[in-house]
Symmetry: C2
Subunit: 213 residues, 2 copies
């Protein structure tokens, strides 16, 4: 087995995705917590490893991989089961599109660095920042529900877990932290429940991390 | 050859990426322009095809694929040459990470819908909206330059074009529209020049589209 180090933050959505992915593949890893709240991602030590100063990052026998979706792809090449994408090209493209809807259309707008810019640079009150957060979650989850529903089963795509489900779980967790109502997304809730029922997924939960406060 | 329809907007960064990708693969397509400025992406006709109401979308013999990076993957399965990712897993993960740095960390913050929210919902003056745009481009391009430089050649990854270059070209085009200085990114400029020198890429430029105003 390769030696894997995960640099993550317990509450970061993309970090949570990667913990789920590593656990599902049955890969053991050393965890190196990087506190985004304390600004540790900007330390010279961390930026020497990842010049972007973002988490998550994994090191696989010294090979550094950034960006959660690239990490999924890398882990799929490393360990076959369970595959994170279906093998047929149309199914694969559909699953990628679902994952990218979370990773490109929802999450980037609600990153800590963005919420901070709204507050500090644009002088927005907390109420406006929270409304911003909810706006993009609601718009994004509605899109995801509509895109996923026609081909969903137990999971977002049929009855097999995929990287779309891995992206879904942390996004719903974060949405609930900002009190986004979830009733309008039955397909997403069904897939979330099926994914959370898996023990490797449960172990990746932010509250299960040693650094959780 | 499959029948391909591309739903796009000439100036949309993700649409521009997909035009480059289709042209590089030598795939002919019918173009169906969707004016984001006129709000055509919200029309019932378009939303019946893509419930998210986003461009680009491609139809490949009736199969609908959304999200530019999922479209790249789908086109790679359809036509082998030129491949959009290297075949070795570490190189592949690195190229995906570069592409995702543009697609997740820069572009989503500067979408038309986001700029509109800043202006309308948050009442920000144009000057603050422009500063927002430039802030994320500058931060993102600096990260991309640092991530790419160690393994770059003529292109962002070695001497072979990849989906990272396909994402780069529209991002630099859009950055220049907002007067972002580019001097600090020699690796990006070199890869951009090499990519733009290819005739299929040139034909994808926003100004070459029939609907360009």
């Amino acid at each position: 087995m390769p030696r894997i180090v995960l640099h993550d933050y317990f509450r970061s959505s993309a970090s949570y995705r990667v913990r789920i992915a590593l656990n599902l593949k049955g890969l053991a890893y050393d965890q190196h917590p990087v506190s985004l709240v304390a600004g540790e991602q900007q330390s010279p030590e961390y930026k020497a490893l990842n010049p972007q100063g973002f988490v998550p990052m994994v090191e696989i026998d010294g090979e550094r991989v950034t960006q959660s979706l690239a990490i999924f792809d890398r882990l799929d090449a490393l360990v076959e089961e369970p595959p994170f994408v279906p093998s047929d090209p149309p199914g694969r493209a559909h699953v990628l599109a679902l994952a990218l809807t979370v990773a490109c259309d929802i999450h980037p707008l609600n990153n800590l660095r963005v919420l901070r810019y709204l507050k500090t640079e644009l002088g927005q009150p907390q109420e406006a920042v929270d409304a911003w957060y909810r706006h993009w979650v609601v718009e994004g989850l509605a899109a995801l529900e509509a895109l996923a529903a026609p081909q969903a089963g137990t999971f977002l795509y049929g009855d097999q877990l995929s990287m779309a489900d891995i992206c879904l779980v942390p996004q719903l967790y974060n949405g609930r932290r900002f009190d986004v109502p979830m009733d309008a997304y039955p397909t997403l809730l069904r897939a979330e429940a099926a994914t959370l029922a898996l023990a490797p997924v449960e172990a990746a939960h932010p509250d299960r991390q040693e650094t959780a406060q």
